[in-house]
């Protein structure tokens, strides 16, 4: 046993957070090993040490070997047999307490410490009229949040350990009676293909399984809302839970999914239809408005009425920069402000917001660096882009905004049309795990139009998306 201990100590590099506790029971020595950071000392005291102390105190007769006795009677909801040294090391790093009863007999009892922050409200996907709980960094809690919503025997979980050093637990969750087998297999293959030293967050998985084709728009949805994941599973999608990540991935995802929120299903359809149309307008405004403004003021001034032209000309009279430079300057300033707002401590937030407003607003105009109309254009465009909760979607809009700015500067309205065509081509060329990204518009799926842009009454949505499932198409009455 001494040799085994030495091997373990060598493996963990004699890290001081590993505790080796020797106990003698009935003249036999057993060794308890645990990591004081990853394991819960309360659980260890309550369930293991107290149990062992009881045996010693009451001089309990142990008829079989300690190994079998502890395996059958030790309190603990999860006890597993350890077969080799590596398994023991893995168990230690997962918060288990390893009990070595002999040179070849080891068992591990789960005593994982609760190192996460508890279930809180979602930070980035606020709910107005729906559940407010959000995922945490704890895999089991996240799984619990989904399972409590879908209490079905058809909800299956398959676990994988990914990352050579981090050995991160990754779970594949799907409804076996709804999700397509082909998609499940594809996702499994992608997960198994991953060969990396560590997975820190679900973002790693997202990047690794999306494929190599360059894309602006996200083809995997990441959410921190359990209700959204539950809805997605019931549609036939697949969820990927990653330990230590509060974001769960949903596969496949379509372009229109970014225009939907879970709150859409908790409110009146007519109101939601209006909101969705607004979101669509916001999408186009975010991409096209700055380019459109550049095009009409530099190439196609004949589009403007005389009054508007005089107004714009007067505003730009003292500005020394070309319109493109002005637009880029304002856009970059806005992005800097937005990024600093995200990173800075909250105590400085107000001061910087005021400074940003003054800099971007009054001072820049008075100094003649930018024209007021450019501030309005860039602000409307940027704010429209922030309507989406997905950071990847916001980034995609930003890229396309710049592309269209440049095309508009070079080619005017023709450049805008060209940019629009390129956007459509790019969107139609994308697919999310083999499913067309622009479905249900291209290809057109008539039934899905009831919940694409315009939302009908819930009882009108009878069928599932045929691209997500073929085996269980009917949702209900």
């Amino acid at each position: 046993m001494t040799l085994l201990i030495e091997k373990i100590k060598k493996k963990v590099g004699s890290s001081t957070d590993f505790i080796f506790r020797e106990m003698t029971i009935q003249n036999k020595t057993i060794i308890l090993i645990f990591n004081e950071v990853l394991s819960s000392s309360e659980d260890i005291n309550q369930f293991i040490l107290k149990y062992l102390a009881n045996i010693i105190e009451k001089k309990v007769e142990i008829p079989t070997s300690f190994y079998h006795y502890f395996l059958n009677s030790m309190p603990g909801h999860h006890i597993k047999e350890i077969k080799d040294l590596q398994e023991a090391i893995d168990a230690l790093y997962n918060g288990y307490t390893v009990i070595i009863t002999s040179e070849k007999e080891m068992l591990a009892i789960e005593t994982k410490a609760n190192l996460d922050r508890g279930i809180n409200e979602a930070n980035n996907e606020q709910s107005i009229q729906g559940p407010k709980d959000a995922f945490t960094e704890n895999f089991n809690k996240n799984l619990g949040l989904v399972r409590k919503r879908i209490k079905s025997e058809h909800l299956w979980l398959q676990e994988y350990t990914i990352g050579k050093e981090t050995k991160t637990k990754v779970g594949l969750l799907y409804m076996e009676n709804i999700a397509e087998e082909e998609t499940i297999q594809k996702v499994k293959e992608e997960l198994l293909k991953i060969n990396i030293d560590g997975i820190i967050d679900s973002g790693y998985i997202k990047e690794l399984i999306q494929g190599e084709k360059p894309r602006f728009f996200p083809t995997i949805l990441a959410t921190e809302r359990p209700d959204q994941v539950s809805m997605a599973l019931l549609e036939g999608k697949i969820a990927i839970l990653v330990d230590n990540s509060p974001y769960v991935l949903i596969i496949p995802c379509f372009f229109i999914d970014f225009f939907h929120t879970t709150d859409d299903y908790y409110q009146k359809p007519i109101n939601i239809s209006f909101i969705r149309i607004i979101r669509l307008f916001a999408f186009f405004i975010a991409i096209f408005i700055p380019g459109f403004y550049i095009a009409v003021t530099t190439h196609n001034q004949e589009v403007l009425s005389l009054d508007l032209l005089i107004n714009f000309s007067a505003q730009r009279a003292m500005v020394p920069f070309p319109a493109l430079i002005e637009a880029l300057l304002m856009s970059v300033t806005f992005e800097i402000l937005r990024e600093s707002d995200t990173r800075m401590p909250s105590s400085m937030g107000t001061a910087v917001s005021i400074l940003g407003g003054l800099v971007l607003g009054d001072a820049a105009v008075n100094a003649g660096i930018v024209s007021p109309i450019m501030i309005i254009v860039v602000a409307i465009s940027a704010i429209s882009g922030l309507l989406f909760s997905s950071i990847e979607m916001i980034s995609a809009l930003r890229w396309w905004r710049f592309i269209l700015l440049i095309l508009a500067t070079l080619l005017g309205m023709y450049g805008i049309v060209l940019g629009g065509l390129l956007l459509i081509i790019h969107l139609t060329s994308l697919n999310s795990f083999g499913k067309p990204y622009l479905a249900p518009f291209a290809p057109f799926i008539k039934e899905e139009q009831k919940d694409a842009l315009i939302k009908t009454e819930n009882r009108g949505i009878r069928y599932r998306n045929p691209y997500l499932t073929k085996k269980n198409k009917i949702r209900g009455r």
Binding site: T297, T298, Q301, L306, L309, S313, R316, L411, G412, G415
Partner: protein, 345 residues
């Protein structure tokens, strides 16, 4: 290979386009243009708008520039050299042409504007009579005044109307003739002088104010206006509330039916008779002028062609000069001063 393609696309982006790139500061916005022919050269008088900021408010100043050239394009190039701004004709609000050009050939002006890709061609076009372009346009609000004048005259006196270049071009193309509003200036105040006849892209004749009014009657371009009989004083003016003219044909006879509602401030028993007599006199004068000059200004021949093709085919030689016409009036009088009260039984 991919890098080469990307490089080519980037190069294309840099070397193509951009030719039409013009900052707003570099744009010379022309709001009114006067085209004259002096010493066998085209003289352009352009009223430029210079936007500026005044106490945070967007305002503008107007200034006139003149240039000459053998063609309109050359004159515009010379104008560009003067102002050093790209000439923008997309926001023209008035074009005034002089009688010399009109008598020679309007085709070059029409061709220029129709082929100019940025010009909108929905601006009014007028003929200058006994006034030069600088005098007409140099006042910064003159173009607004002229445009306003044309519209107000159409409503008030019915002797002129606002004609856009594209309508003029269309009429010349389809009908080979049209009329154009005439403007002049008295003590630097623009005035309207009725209409002028353009046939085959050349100025043919002028219509008097009464004949202009008759033309607008017959072409249904006036609805309500104030008719002042030529041989009467101001107090006998007749207010035409509504007017509609229907022209039909039967072989070589043109039937003109005028349906009007008139109003007079006085109780004049001869009102209807005076009105009809005055209108008939004006129409007679107009038709006589057109027949004497062999100008089918009111498109009677087209009407006959549509209604009775066989007759037209067999009699088209000198048909217009031999046309007769009959005017029928259906006039209703309104008495605004008349009060109606209940009848005591």
């Amino acid at each position: 290979m991919k890098k080469i393609i990307v490089l080519c696309i980037l190069l294309l982006g840099l070397i193509t386009g951009c030719v039409s790139y013009t900052e707003l500061n570099e744009l010379g916005i022309v709001s009114a243009l006067g085209i004259e022919e002096i010493d066998q050269q085209i003289q352009l008088t352009a009223n430029f708008i210079l936007p500026q900021k005044d106490d945070g408010e967007s305002t503008y100043q107007s200034t006139c520039f003149q240039s000459r050239g053998t063609t309109i394009e050359e004159a515009l190039n010379n104008l560009y050299l003067q102002v050093s701004k790209k000439i923008d004709l997309a926001h023209l609000e008035l074009v005034a042409i002089d009688t010399t050009i009109a008598q020679e050939d309007l085709n070059k002006i029409l061709q220029f504007f129709l082929q100019e890709p940025t010009a909108r061609n929905n601006f009014p076009i007028v003929l200058m009579k006994e006034v030069n372009a600088k005098e007409l346009l140099e006042n910064e609000n003159q173009k607004d005044t002229i445009a306003h004048l044309l519209t107000m005259n159409q409503i008030a006196q019915g002797t002129t109307f606002s004609l856009s270049l594209e309508n003029m071009a269309r009429q010349l193309l389809e009908e080979k003739n049209t009329v154009i509003p005439v403007v002049s200036s008295k003590d630097h105040i623009p005035t309207t002088e009725g209409l002028a006849i353009i046939q085959d892209n050349k100025l043919k004749d002028y219509l008097t104010l009464e004949e202009s009014n008759a033309y607008l009657y017959l072409s249904n371009q006036i609805n309500s206006f104030t008719l002042i009989p030529s041989n009467s004083n101001q107090t006998s003016e007749i207010i035409v509330k509504e007017n509609h003219t229907i022209i039909s044909s039967h072989q070589n006879k043109i039937q003109i039916e005028i349906q009007s509602t008139i109003e007079s401030k006085e109780n004049n028993v001869d009102l209807k008779e005076n009105y009809e007599k005055e209108v008939k006199k004006r129409i007679d004068s107009l038709i006589k002028k057109t027949q004497d000059n062999k100008m089918d200004l009111l498109h009677f021949l087209t009407l006959i062609y549509r209604n009775d093709y066989n007759f037209y085919e067999h009699n088209k030689t000198n048909l217009f000069e031999q046309l007769t016409y009959e005017i029928t009036f259906h006039t209703t009088i309104q008495y605004p001063n008349l009060k109606t009260e209940g009848v005591l039984i």
